[in-house]
């Protein structure tokens, strides 16, 4: 779906991105992870031609994006920014209608699609006529996402979409977004510097440093088979938590009925029902931990 080949971009004498290549398959989530200033945003912006590479090529569906008109290209790619970038002089309804208007959608179609997204994103319809400044940070970010999804683009680029939110809201919205059916089908490239977020959201993670890729692979691969010192060092501090997040319950307890749940998620779920005095569940959290440790020894 998206293929980046050997992207290089300099700003003056500073090399922001130095020979980056990756591929994102249809429906896959790729996370660009790395400390601030390592070139994530620059890489992301080269995909919708907000930045032109000095050398290298990006293909979308096999087509070199340089052969496409930049504006036309961008209208077909969803783009979500850290600071939502909502137009302060437009109401919420007007904001989310921007791309459909650029594509000359009919008003009724716009309204219908907006209603649908409002519903899916748990947005109160009454905010449609409000201006962005009247919304909470979480609402603003939801509207920003709704705006990028309006024309249902197959590709979505997100640059630290939760970065401006407080911790609790961030975790809540992250869970919501993850569960959103609209996002499941999308090819998604997301930038973050938050390791936990990368492990929760990413099918694959592209770990970057100083404009270069250190390793690209599934969370598990990065964690359990780091290809260099940098990668293992990068996760050291949060290692246990990340391991719990990257291992599925079925991997440590073969035959467990819930297929897609990670050990971390299961533990979170168990902790939530701790007050139920359910002896059976209390036992399970310990079993889970024991099984996990056994799995790790192997």
């Amino acid at each position: 779906m998206i293929k980046a080949e050997n992207l290089v971009r300099k700003f003056g004498s500073q090399v922001a991105v130095n020979g980056i290549s990756f591929e994102v398959k249809e429906g896959e989530n790729l996370i660009l992870l790395g400390t601030s200033g390592c070139g994530k945003t620059t890489t992301l912006r080269m995909i919708n031609r907000l930045i032109e590479p000095d050398s290298g090529t990006v293909f979308i569906d096999g087509v070199d994006i340089r052969s496409r008109q930049p504006e036309e290209l961008r209208r077909g790619i969803g783009y979500v920014l850290q600071n939502h970038g909502l137009f302060p002089h437009y109401t919420v309804a007007e904001n989310i209608a921007i791309v459909p208007r650029l594509l000359h959608w009919k008003n009724t179609d716009i309204r219908q699609r907006a209603d649908e997204l409002f519903h899916k994103l748990n947005l109160d319809p009454s905010i449609a006529e409000k201006y962005p400044t009247a919304l909470s940070g979480g609402q603003q970010q939801r509207v920003g996402l709704a705006r990028s999804l309006m024309v249902n683009p197959p590709v979505l680029l997100m640059d630290e979409p939760f970065g401006a939110l407080d911790n609790l809201t961030r975790i809540a919205i992250r869970h919501e977004f993850k569960a959103l059916d609209e996002l499941v089908k999308k090819t998604l490239v997301m930038v973050t510097h938050d390791v936990q977020e990368a492990f929760e959201m990413g099918d694959r993670i592209c770990l970057m440093d100083k404009g270069e890729i250190k390793q690209i692979g599934t969370p598990e691969e990065l964690l359990f088979s780091p290809s260099n010192e940098f990668v293992s060092g990068f996760f050291r501090e949060q290692r246990l938590q990340l391991e719990l997040k990257s291992v599925l319950v079925t991997e440590i307890l073969p035959g467990y009925p819930e297929k897609e749940i990670t050990v971390w998620e299961k533990m979170e779920a168990l902790l939530h029902i701790r007050n139920d005095d359910s002896l059976e569940e209390q036992l399970k959290i310990e079993d889970l931990m024991r099984a996990f440790l056994a799995y790790k020894k192997k």
């Binding site: 036309e72 920014l81 970038g85 680029l157």
Partner: protein, 522 residues
């Protein structure tokens, strides 16, 4: 007496003039403003895109703003002549900075994330500008336009100095004539114009534009076309054109008298003394109201027309001194009177010519004069007291002030300060009565007509009577203000109509009556 006329009576009586001046004022302000908007906004946008240009452009517009208005008008006259054109250009130049600067900052202040989002969603550069940057910069941009508008309404009063009309005609005429009704009739509408325009623009400022459309630009162009009709009446056509100072326009012994007594029907524009002579020389004007001892008469080869019906009263110059000062320093009166009899019309014209045209300093001219006439004595030790000499803002007054300074320093132990540059008759006289100066050279005619404002009967009785006027003002000033007229110096700097020598000769015009007849025939 004029003073007793109420403000409303004045406004009603002069309502035609008031309207035409207000329209002219509005026209000047709006035309220059719209041209400035049309040029400054794109320029402001340009410098957000070419950052390197911004310092230069803003700096240059900033320098324009610091040029004093009168100086700017003066610089423009050689290129554009007189009338609305240089006035509009000057106003346009003043309006540039606030609009460029606010367009620039307005756009620069737009949240980069919003612009980034706009581009990322696939808006073209033009769409980003029209739908995002300009609408969001709009309140700041409008604040710049409001600033420019208020500045322009104020500066447009100076248009009256270069025959471009506007409320400055009343304001400066009123100041010159010591007529507060006239000043207010100009100043109040000017202030109202500023307030109303600013208010209307503040309403526009509050509009939340979703996008700026080219259609909005049509509106100002429609306005410009409409207001440009105002320019038509002052087109200088084939007929003779008179250019008179605001003061002359309002005076019985000026334009009003020309109309009443001579039945002179000439098209007129209002213009400042500073540019009038040159404009006549350059054939932009044919008849001007000058002073008979003005040095520029000589410089521009102009001649005065004989006042055959005696409407211009004598203007003999004499020191006007506060009696208290004379009492305090009894030696002063005799010293000041020393000058009496030494300067006639042509001596004064020649000295004025040196200062105004040859750019010699008034100090030097005064020194040369006192030397030549053996009036000069080296300055004595000072310390006995200080005399403050005032003067109006033109060469002749500067020269006289310097001569008096030499006389006082050479003959008394008094110190002297000269306070030159007191705007006009009213300002000078107020300074005298308020004890800010001790004396200044004044003209009998001015004292008689402007400061005393005699009734019709006195006017008629003293018409053409040189001594009678002098005695009348001496008596009245003593009585009303405790101020003394010393002996007249000797020259008569009266109003006179002037024309280019060759034109006057070819048309055989020697007197004002000749001029009236010529105009009536054509």
């Amino acid at each position: 007496m004029e003073q007793e006329q109420s403000f409303w009576q004045f406004v009603v009586q002069q309502s035609d003039k008031l309207w035409s001046q207000t329209w002219a004022h509005l026209g000047l302000t709006l035309i220059s403003l719209i041209i400035a908007i049309v040029i400054a906004i794109p320029l402001g946008i340009l410098i957000t895109r070419r950052q390197k240009l911004s310092g230069f452009v803003l700096g240059f517009a900033g320098i324009l703003q610091t040029i004093p208005s009168i100086a700017l008008l003066g610089v423009l006259i050689p290129f554009l002549g007189i009338g609305p054109k240089p006035a509009i250009l000057a106003l346009f130049l003043y309006a540039l900075l606030p609009i460029i600067r606010n367009t620039y900052t307005g756009i620069k202040e737009v949240n980069p994330a919003v612009i980034e989002a706009a581009k990322g969603m696939g808006m073209s550069k033009w769409q980003v500008l029209m739908k995002v940057e300009l609408p969001l910069a709009f309140p700041v941009l409008m604040a710049g336009i409001r600033t420019a508008t208020v500045i322009n309404v104020g500066v447009a009063t100076l248009a009256a100095y270069i025959a471009a009309g506007g409320l400055g005609e009343f304001i400066f005429g009123g100041i010159a004539l010591n007529n507060s009704n006239m000043i207010l009739a100009g100043a109040i509408p000017a202030a109202l114009l500023a307030i109303i325009l600013d208010f209307l623009l503040s309403l526009v400022q509050k509009i939340n534009f979703r996008s700026i459309r080219i259609a909005y630009l049509v509106f100002p162009f429609a306005l410009i076309t409409l207001s440009s009709f105002y320019l038509l009446p002052t087109q200088i056509g084939g007929r003779m054109l008179g250019g008179f100072t605001p003061e002359f326009m309002g005076r019985e012994d000026g334009y009003l008298g020309l109309r009443k007594i001579y039945k002179l029907g000439i098209e007129t524009v209002v213009i400042s003394d500073a540019v009038m002579y040159k404009a006549a020389f350059e054939k932009k004007l044919d008849v001007i109201s000058g002073y008979s001892t003005d040095g520029r008469l000589k410089a521009y080869d102009l001649i005065t027309l004989k006042d055959d019906k005696h409407i211009f009263p004598p203007y003999y110059a004499a020191p006007l001194v506060r009696q208290e000062v004379l009492d305090q320093y009894p030696e002063l009166e005799g010293v000041l009177n020393q000058l009496s009899g030494y300067i006639n019309d042509s001596t004064m014209t020649a000295m004025n010519y040196k200062v105004d045209q040859l750019k010699e300093s008034p100090e030097k001219v005064a020194l040369d004069f006192t030397m030549a006439h053996h009036l000069y004595k080296p300055a004595r030790a000072a310390g006995h007291g200080t005399i403050r000499i005032g003067s109006k803002i033109f060469g002749e007054q500067y020269i006289l002030a310097q001569i008096y300074k030499i006389l006082i320093r050479g003959n008394t132990n008094l110190n002297v300060i000269t306070k030159s540059g007191l705007g006009g008759t009213k300002i000078c006289f107020d300074a005298l009565t308020n004890n800010q100066i001790d004396f200044y050279p004044e003209y009998t005619g001015t004292g008689f007509l402007v400061l005393l404002k005699p009734d019709e009967k006195t006017l008629k009785g003293l018409a053409g009577d040189i001594d009678g006027v002098y005695h009348y003002v001496s008596r009245e000033f003593k009585h009303q203000f405790n101020i003394k007229w010393l002996k007249p110096i000797g020259f008569n700097n009266a109003y006179a109509l002037m024309m280019r020598r060759e034109q006057a000769q070819s048309l055989q015009i020697k007197t004002i009556t000749d001029l009236t007849n010529h105009l009536n025939q054509n």
